[in-house]
């Protein structure tokens, strides 16, 4: 559906994108993650034909963005980061204008009702856009992107400025649209991506540093996983019993456990599953378990690791 091949973009001497290639299949939801200035918005602007790539090609639904921009624009619903709204217009006037500009004509009424319902704009339809809260402005702009029922949705930070309840609302809306539409969304809020997107693209310094599902990304940045266990037992027994489990690489004892209990972080190679064996040992020894928790890298941590390591590579090169 969307295909970028070796796309570069220079703004003067600044290189915003360096050789970015990826493709998105129909019906896929792709999360675009990266620090500020990484090139997320630039990539989206190229896909929506707002800016041209300096080199490389980009096509949407088989139409090249440079050769047939009107066909591409027809297919895309775009929510830019800047939230483009005419502050003097009323909300319904704005949506009517977009409906006309998108040539909806007959189907406008139906789409308009749907979009107002979906984005919850009902109470503010007759208000001036300029006086709306940030959340409503964001939703008005989202309505603009959805009104023509586009095949492809490009959402640049769709939930910025929304409160947690509204974020959940938008997230559900995106999930509802998922089966029929191809969606690319960018965000800083990482849990949001992992809960909505099938696939995550991490960009840093203008290039793609990772591509894959959430779990795959986590594996990519962590060589070993760990589990924290605290039981009522002697330290010596604990150490020897746990060490005997196949796959355990190291134990790091926790000194802050209460008297009579022992706790430690047990490290093992990612991809191996030691939990059944560990469980078996605990049962055999008849230990009382005080704490047992799988330690996963949070998305934030993996994000930092991904972007940091690629930054170092860039520096070395």
């Amino acid at each position: 559906m969307i295909e970028l091949k070796n796309v570069c973009k220079n703004y003067g001497v600044t290189r915003a994108l360096a050789d970015v290639s990826f493709s998105v299949e129909k019906g896929e939801i792709v999360g675009f993650v990266g620090p500020n200035g990484a090139g997320k918005s630039t990539t989206m602007k190229i896909i929506t034909t707002y800016t041209a790539p300096s080199s490389g090609t980009c096509s949407v639904g088989g139409h090249d963005v440079m050769e047939d921009p009107l066909a591409v624009r027809q297919m895309i619903g775009y929510l830019p980061e800047t939230v483009p709204l005419y502050y003097d217009m009323l909300v319904h006037e704005y949506l009517e204008f977009i409906g006309q500009a998108r040539h909806l004509n007959g189907s406008f009424k139906k789409r308009y009702d749907w979009v107002v319902e979906a984005t919850g704009l009902g109470p503010v339809l007759r208000r001036k856009i300029g006086v709306l809260s940030k959340g409503y402005k964001q939703r008005t702009c989202l309505a603009q992107a959805l009104i023509h029922d586009p095949e492809v949705l490009i959402l640049d930070e769709p939930t910025s400025g929304l409160d947690p309840l509204q974020i959940i609302g938008i997230r559900n809306l995106i999930r509802d649209l998922a089966h029929e539409k191809t969606i690319i969304l960018s965000t800083h809020i990482l849990p949001e991506v992992s809960s909505v997107a099938d696939r995550i693209l991490v960009v840093n310094n203008g290039s793609l540093v990772a591509d894959g599902s959430f779990d795959k990304l986590i594996q990519q940045v962590t060589e070993r996983s760990s589990v924290y266990v605290a039981v009522k037992a002697a330290k010596k027994d604990f150490q020897s019993a746990v060490k005997s489990i196949k796959g355990v690489e190291d134990i790091e004892f926790d000194d802050n456990t209460p008297r009579g209990t022992v706790g430690g972080h047990i490290f093992y190679a990612s991809g191996k599953d030691i939990l059944p064996d560990l469980n078996q040992v605990i049962r055999e020894q008849n230990w009382d378990v005080v704490d047992f928790s799988q330690e996963r890298l949070s998305l934030e941590e993996s994000f930092i690791r991904l972007t940091r390591s690629s930054g170092q590579e860039g520096g070395a090169a």
Binding site: Y50, T51, A52, R73, Y78, T82, P84, Y86, D88, Q100
Partner: protein
């Protein structure tokens, strides 16, 4: 409705949302009418020559730049340029829609001065040729300045900068078309003044139409230059992509 009409309607409405345009319209009408009335009472002639002799400068320095400044600059500031240029429309249609909205607003202001010929008809018997010619010239000249204004507005996100640069450009075009300005320039650099007068100055073409001599050459001059700047505006917006 075609694309141009959709943009035109929205842009025209936008003029009536903001007070700035009203303020400038009132200034335009009052300034022109009072400059003229001074002359009218002093000489007592039932013609509008004084009106049309100051009109190019008032249009070029104040009124047209004030209308044209927002055409693109406002969209840059609001970010709506990203919306407009990703709509499934040709850039030329958007430019033309915006341009016509500016023109209609200008013509409304110009229509406000029609009170003068009405007063003249009541008080005396004016020669209608030069008056009709003068208004036709004002439409042509306004169209030309508006095209320059929208072109310049396409480069700046600040409306005031667009206003000042359009004002300087149009003011220059008017002044080098006044006979004594090129004469002074000729005194410094021989030939430059008359070159500017003949090939750049806009007043000469306006005066021809205003005298009631409606020559196809002058109409072609205004229409083709206006079209050229509109074309350049569309191209510069597409060029901005790179």
């Amino acid at each position: 409705m075609n694309d141009m009409t959709i943009i035109f309607k929205r842009e025209l409405k936008q003029y009536f949302y903001s007070p700035i345009a009203y303020v400038f319209s009132v200034i335009f009408i009052v300034l022109n009418a009072s400059l003229y009335m001074f002359h009218f009472f002093f000489f007592g002639n039932a013609d509008m020559r004084a009106f049309f002799s100051t009109l190019p400068l008032v249009l070029g320095l104040v009124f047209i730049p004030a209308i044209s400044m927002r055409l693109w600059s406002e969209d840059y500031k609001l970010g709506t340029v990203e919306l407009l240029l990703t709509l499934p429309m040709k850039t030329e249609d958007i430019v033309l829609g915006k341009y016509l909205a500016g023109m209609v607003f200008y013509l409304v202001g110009l229509a406000g001065t029609l009170i003068i010929p009405i007063v003249l008809e009541v008080l005396g018997s004016p020669d209608w040729g030069p008056i009709v010619g003068g208004y036709l010239g004002a439409v042509m000249l306004g169209g030309f300045f508006m095209a320059i204004g929208i072109f310049i507005s396409g480069f700046f996100s600040d409306q005031i900068v667009s206003l000042i640069i359009t004002s300087l450009t149009c003011g220059f075009l008017v002044l080098v078309g006044w006979q004594y300005v090129p004469m002074v320039i000729d005194g410094w650099i021989p030939g430059l003044g008359s070159f500017l007068y003949n090939f750049v100055g806009v007043t000469r073409h306006f005066n021809d139409i205003e005298r009631g001599v409606i020559d196809i050459k002058n109409i072609v001059y205004f229409v083709s230059y206006s079209a050229m700047f509109l074309y350049l505006n569309a191209k510069s917006l597409e060029r901005r992509k790179y």
